[in-house]
Symmetry: C2
Subunit: 216 residues, 2 copies
């Protein structure tokens, strides 16, 4: 009993340091990118010596991979939950999905810029990122196209390409949350705070998507 407790304490202690480093690394990598990130800086953030960082993760690149793995695993899980309620009418179902996606994007505003920059700046290193994104996207696309085709055949919406619609939703949502920091610096003064901005923007995007689906 006593022994078991102590063993757990030791295990926890190790776990914590490793996790501390991972958390610090995520912050550093997501804002500065692989090249801008410094292992010493990450170690500092995590409150450990940089030798410890190398002890747990050996190299910067291995640490990077662990961070990417963990982060995209979480995003993939969240994405899976977007699958909209099939009982809703098609238009509401898609608009609801778009709003849910907005929230996901808003929760991790730095992720898309990170992804894009990494894949652009070093495609080989970021194979894993591409694989993860591919996996997530293909599922959603197939599912969506089937739903759109059925609804279009029933005359509920106009005929529409799922890839285009998906790209619209992703573009509008991701870019909006991605760019807020700039807007706030550009339009300082006459801009609502982040929360108000998000509410208004989400509604506007939902409306834009709804209008896209109408037959008219």
């Amino acid at each position: 009993m006593l022994i078991k407790e102590k063993r757990e304490m030791k295990y926890e202690k190790k776990q914590n340091k490793e996790q501390d480093i991972l958390i610090a690394a995520e912050e550093e990598f997501l804002t500065k990118g692989y090249d801008g990130a410094r292992t010493t800086s990450i170690a500092q953030r995590a409150g450990v010596t940089h030798a410890m960082l190398h002890y747990y993760f050996r190299t910067k690149e291995q640490l990077f991979n662990r961070v990417v793995e963990q982060k995209f695993g979480m995003v993939a899980m969240t994405m899976a939950s977007v699958i909209a309620d099939l009982s809703l009418p098609i238009v509401e179902r898609i608009v609801h999905g778009a709003r849910a996606h907005f929230d996901i994007a808003a929760k991790d505003p730095k992720l898309p810029a990170f992804m894009i920059h990494e894949i652009l700046s070093n495609p080989e290193r970021s194979t894993m990122i591409r694989e993860k994104v591919k996996w997530i996207t293909l599922n959603v696309h197939q599912n969506l196209q089937a739903q759109l085709d059925m609804a279009a055949n029933r005359g509920e919406i106009r005929k529409i390409d799922a890839a285009e619609l998906l790209l619209d939703i992703i573009s509008l949502n991701v870019f909006s949350v991605l760019i807020y920091p700039f807007i706030s610096q550009i339009a300082d003064g006459f801009l609502p705070n982040y929360e108000d901005f998000k509410v208004k923007r989400k509604a506007e995007i939902a409306d834009t998507i709804r209008r896209k689906l109408l037959i008219q």
Copy 2:
């Protein structure tokens, strides 16, 4: 006469090397970012020794600033030409502007990702980028809001916030061209080539924007 020619040759030679370095630097900085870029690599691309690079530009940061200055100067000029033909009806005028903006974005697909990453990863260093973007955006916004208000008062379109519309157009255009490299890797095989993709995407976005403006 002979003397003058020789003097020009010498001058040209210098000009060329400096320009060569600037061109190579733009490629390197835009794809790898400030942190990922290497002055030695830039020098190699430009076909000069890296000592030459330092001779002309002293430091990496000064070279970076020159590249940013030059690049955003060109973009600002191109943007100015988007100002749509006022003789067109409002809806067509805006849709035309959106299409023109798509072409600008498509001409420099790496620029937005570069901007975003730099401002995020090192706000102090990229003050100049922010200033340039601010200057460009504010003009367009004011102009657009005035046009929208007039048209809405005449009952030609619904009342709409220029900032939201602008954000829609920029999001859709920029993100679309930005993300093509990924899509092509994700959906290899059943994806049109870049030219076809752009044509279809531009039309789709134009339609999306048009639908946004309708009163209905």
